[in-house]
């Protein structure tokens, strides 16, 4: 039970909020008591009503996460092994990278409308860069001695890439992907809010605008748990993939 002190704090905070709202320290109109939110939450969960919006958001996160990771790994690897590719793409990458990707959602809406294409593109964009930069660093950091071992045994570039460079860069790539997973959630929720048709982001904003605060908080809790789950699953997969690093 290594989480137990942390869980105790969590319970205390929720308990305090319940008390504070009850005692009138926090306006009920802004924050319904947690128990009331819990009731709504239970209703959403037990009726299965939570599932369609959750899946809709999850679809954006996954599609963008995999597309962005694939682009980031491919481009980062190419730039890492080929100086020509690096010189070709580095200015473009350095130009787009610093832009907060949330600011690109409005222009993307012009081109792609408000459908999934726009939302997946914005998630893809935010995922690509951390993965790309980490891949680049990882690929460049592969030990010279190891690369020479491949050369002296007559390994070709393709074999070396697949069986040496990418596995050796994997710790970096996965670290970049872990950062990107969090950002993917942010952009998925944000683009749902800006181009609302459904999904968790849309619902949270919609409930706020219609003063259904218990619903709003309930959806927020669902979003939080989703983020927690995704991150935990990723960490687990990462630790399995990098078993050879734990020494």
């Amino acid at each position: 039970m290594r989480h137990s002190p942390g869980i105790l704090v969590l319970v205390l905070v929720i308990g305090f909020l319940e008390f504070a709202v009850d005692a009138g320290m926090i306006r009920r109109a802004l924050l319904p008591p947690p128990s009331a939110t819990a009731e709504v939450l239970w209703e959403l969960l037990s009726t299965g009503e939570f599932l369609p919006p959750l899946l809709s958001t999850l679809k954006l996160v996954f599609a963008g996460f995999f597309l962005g990771s694939a682009i980031g790994v491919a481009l980062g690897t190419a730039m890492g092994i080929s100086p020509a590719m690096f010189r070709l793409f580095e200015p473009l990458v350095e130009l787009i990278r610093p832009i907060p990707k949330s600011a690109l959602v409005p222009p993307l809406m012009l081109f792609l409308g408000i459908d999934d294409a726009m939302k997946i593109t914005s998630v893809t964009l935010v995922v690509t860069f951390p993965v790309l930069l980490n891949t680049l660093q990882g690929v460049r950091g592969v030990d010279r001695v190891m690369l020479d071992a491949a050369r002296t045994h007559g390994w070709g570039l393709g074999h070396t890439l697949r069986h040496m460079i990418l596995p050796a860069a994997l710790p970096f790539i996965l670290a970049g992907m872990r950062v990107s997973l969090g950002l993917a959630m942010v952009l998925a929720v944000l683009s749902e809010m800006l181009a609302g048709q459904g999904g968790l982001g849309f619902l949270i904003l919609d409930m706020q605008r219609s003063f259904q605060l218990r619903q709003m908080y309930a959806w927020l809790v669902i979003l939080a748990v989703l983020g927690l789950l995704l991150n935990s699953i990723f960490l687990l997969a990462e630790r399995r993939a990098l078993f050879w690093q734990r020494r």
Binding site: V145, M146, A149, T152, H153, G154, W155, G156, H159, H163
Partner: protein
């Protein structure tokens, strides 16, 4: 024609600002007949590893050339395998020992046949039953044995060894030296070993080429002339061994002048 020929090999690095290029070595010429065990002995920093890398096609000479079987070396030659000093950096940590040995041939034979042969190579370096272990689960000496098994799996005609035993403890070093002699005798390999360890050079080699400090060149070539098979203890006590040791240490420590 010698199996391995070095013809006036030299290496220098251009310096910034139009200064004269830094000469690491020059005029290295040697003929190595097939089956010989040659040691190249020199102090640290004399460019021994660079010399070996030029023979292995891992570094490009600034002048001269290395030839194997009459062909100039340009890129890693199929006959030669380089055994690195840093076994912990040349083995793949995400692969178990079997797959690390399969490394040598999998790109030519395919993964399955390469794997199937790997256990036998592991056994030949005394690591039978360690196929499923990962390198980081083994001691330094055992890791270097894996690297040796990998080199052998490639079935090279020429084994290039870069101070392969300098990172292991003294006792392990003696065991690995005997192992290498064993393998060399059984497989009729040609070996070029670079080392700064005088006793290692004498114990292992047929001939020893002594490098001078930078810019390095070959100061002298000595016939070891100790009988084979050599014994880890008795050979080191032979009068000829001690005589060579005295001579070479004198040279490396530059006591001639004193």
């Amino acid at each position: 024609m010698a199996f391995l020929g070095l013809d006036a090999l030299g290496k220098f690095y251009p310096q910034p600002g139009g200064a004269a290029p830094a000469r690491i070595m020059q005029g290295i010429s040697l003929e190595v007949p097939e089956g010989e065990f040659l040691a190249v002995l020199g102090p640290s920093g004399c460019g021994k590893s660079t010399l070996l890398q030029m023979v292995a096609g891992l570094a490009t000479p600034s002048e001269g050339e290395a030839r194997i079987n009459g062909r100039a070396v340009a890129g890693p030659p199929p006959e030669a395998v380089y055994l690195f000093q840093q076994y912990n950096r040349s083995l793949l940590p995400w692969r178990n020992c079997r797959d690390n040995v399969a490394f040598a041939t999998e790109h030519r034979l395919g993964r399955k046949p390469a794997r199937a042969a790997a256990d036998e190579h592991l056994a030949s370096v005394g690591l039978a039953g360690f196929g499923d272990h990962y390198p980081w689960q083994l001691s330094g000496g055992m890791q270097q044995r894996v690297a040796i098994a990998r080199a052998l799996a490639a079935e090279p005609a020429l084994l290039l060894m870069d101070e392969p035993f300098s990172a292991v403890d003294a006792l392990t070093r003696i065991q690995l030296q005997s192992l290498i002699l064993d393998i060399w005798a059984r497989r009729r390999l040609t070996v070029m070993l670079v080392t700064h360890d005088v006793e290692e050079a004498i114990f292992l080699a047929d001939r020893i080429a002594v490098l001078t400090p930078r810019p390095s060149t070959i100061g002298e070539v000595i016939e070891v002339g100790l009988p084979r098979p050599r014994d880890a203890i008795a050979t080191r006590e032979a009068p000829r061994f001690l005589e060579l040791r005295h001579h070479l240490l004198n040279r490396l420590l530059a006591r001639d002048a004193a």
